[in-house]
Amino acid sequence: MNTKEAKEGLIYLYCITDKVPKLKEIENLVDEPYFIYHQSLYASVNKVKESEFAEENLKRNLADLEWIKVKASIHEKAIEGVMKNTCVIPFKFATLFNTEDNLKAMLGAHLEEFKDILIKLEDKEEWGVKIYCNSENLKENLIQEDEQLLNIDKEINSSLPGKSYLLKKKKEELLNISVNKKFNEYGEVSFDRLRERSQEAGINKLLPKEVTERNDEMILNSAFLINKDKVGDFLNIVDDLRVKYTDKGLFFDCTGPWPPYNFCGLLKEKIHNG
């Protein structure tokens, strides 16, 4: 490693492995990633400009979505490239160090944890399942199924405007409660079935429509760590669920394999520490 070079710019950490990362095979990355070896671990890194990643500049750039789009894609591509040959501990976007020594100190401080995580992740893949539900369609179905709602509907039709207005409000309230109940039920049933085939499973925060830009609502945002030889079974269950819920207006978005962002242990510790 060129020590003079290390002093200029910042070191951006993509991921950690316990085998030599095959960085030369990663195509289409603007810069050339390299690795830093320390105490049996390999950190895949890249040199980045302070003009882009130093604290104030980074904050400014984080408001620029085009910039994030490019950089997050590089982040993902680099980690996925390394992941092709060995299992990785992916780091959060923009994990930065001023010097190689700082990075090595961090590796040393968490050495045993990282080794344990890598053992845990061996021969496993992360998959994500997001489930969406069209609440309008669901409401239509619920009205047909629910006797109480059907009765209110009848009453609305035979009532004077004032009363019918109040009844409509009541119906809307009851519907919203039923819809949320159903959302929870579908999400729970699906999650429970999917986790049976996984080593670990986690539920993440739901993304609002403004972010997903879909017409239907996200009702489950989940991640699973699956043994490689169980992935086929897992995907079959996703298909089973699709069939089971086909008339309920559910949409299953299943993606993977991802770097195991959701299952690298230290994260939980961090959350508990606040």
């Binding site: 984080l62 994030i68 993902e76 996703v238």
Partner: protein
């Protein structure tokens, strides 16, 4: 006639690609910005900054949506997902 149909198909596959890109970006941001090992590196981005990203994402996604609408494409509905 044939030619017209072909053009239409090309346009649709282009839009599918855009949709796919958008979904992928959402997936990447949902993970890389929110998850992954969080270590006290030398520079730390706070949660607030990540929310800022989502705000930005909203703007970007809307612009893609607007483009699709301008092209007379159907709204984002069910689509094939990569497995």
């Amino acid at each position: 006639m044939d030619r017209q149909i072909k053009t239409l198909q090309d346009k649709n596959s282009y839009l599918d690609l855009r949709k796919q890109e958008r979904v992928t970006l959402l997936e990447i941001l949902d993970r890389a910005l929110d998850k992954g090992v969080v270590i006290s590196g030398d520079i730390v981005i706070s949660v607030a900054d990540v929310d800022l990203v989502y705000l930005g994402l909203k703007v970007l996604l809307s612009s893609v949506e607007t483009m699709e609408r301008l092209r007379g494409a159907p709204m984002a509905g069910a689509q094939e997902e990569p497995t």
